[in-house]
């Protein structure tokens, strides 16, 4: 029973990432889209929290949203997998449900 959790806001702006991570666990995935994409980059203040989360959940970032914001070439967190929109659709299909944390 796995959930795809979608986060679309920067953790510097809203607390959504915190609020999601503390309530998910084994088998769940997190997809960072839109403004949330920037925290996939290595070296931000949220790197540690995401690395810790990656021990139990799979982390994905929507590549076009990273590229739009100037991070196509940036070093990402090791545990972060890039997907395009096709990959996004695949994640939706291969999880049991989708939870958009708005």
């Amino acid at each position: 029973m796995s959930t795809l959790n979608i986060i679309n806001k920067s953790p510097f702006e809203k607390r959504t990432l915190d609020q999601c991570l503390k309530r998910i666990g084994e088998g769940d995935s997190v997809l960072l889209i839109e403004d949330a994409a920037i925290c996939a980059v290595a070296g931000t203040a949220y790197a540690e929290q995401l690395i810790a989360a990656s021990k139990q959940s799979k982390l994905y970032v929507l590549q076009p949203d990273l590229q739009a914001r100037g991070f196509a070439e940036a070093a990402l967190l090791d545990s972060m997998e890039q997907v395009d929109y096709e990959g996004f659709v695949n994640l939706v299909v291969t999880h049991d449900r989708v939870h958009s944390w708005l």
Partner: protein, 129 residues
């Protein structure tokens, strides 16, 4: 890519409405509640979860008429009549806000944060505005 777990019609799905925002500052709370009321006609298995600032939606003594807003908070009391009886509130969300169940308009089931995942894992559809 086919998923035959649920056939159209007949099958009952489990819907979870996740409420995470304060009322009045935005319209998400009232429009979420409207969805629940309309959805009740579909005879699905409905639960509502109030976490984070969503717990404020259930605060007693709301008086939004003082800023010319409709007071829809009484509607939470009417949910029972629509057979929406599973209202879950996360304990930590209340505590951080200095609230207790005595501050709430309706009787709810208080759950610890550690049980939110188990609740979510039972659902077919999650609506969070």
């Amino acid at each position: 890519m086919e998923d035959d777990e649920y056939q159209e019609g007949g099958e009952i799905k489990k819907f979870l409405y996740v409420n995470r925002r304060l009322p009045h500052g935005t319209a998400y709370a009232i429009e979420s509640l409207e969805t629940v009321l309309i959805g009740a006609a579909f005879d699905q298995d409905v639960s509502m979860l109030f976490i984070d600032d969503g717990v404020y939606q259930l605060k007693k003594e709301q008086a939004p008429d003082c800023i010319d807003f409709k007071n829809f908070s009484k509607t939470y009391r009417a949910l029972e009549m629509y057979d929406v009886e599973k209202l879950y509130v996360e304990r930590e969300s209340l505590e951080e806000r200095g609230l207790t169940t005595d501050d709430l308009l309706v009787v709810v089931e208080l759950i610890p944060g550690s049980e939110v995942k188990a609740l979510v894992d039972q659902q077919d559809v999650i609506l969070s505005f």
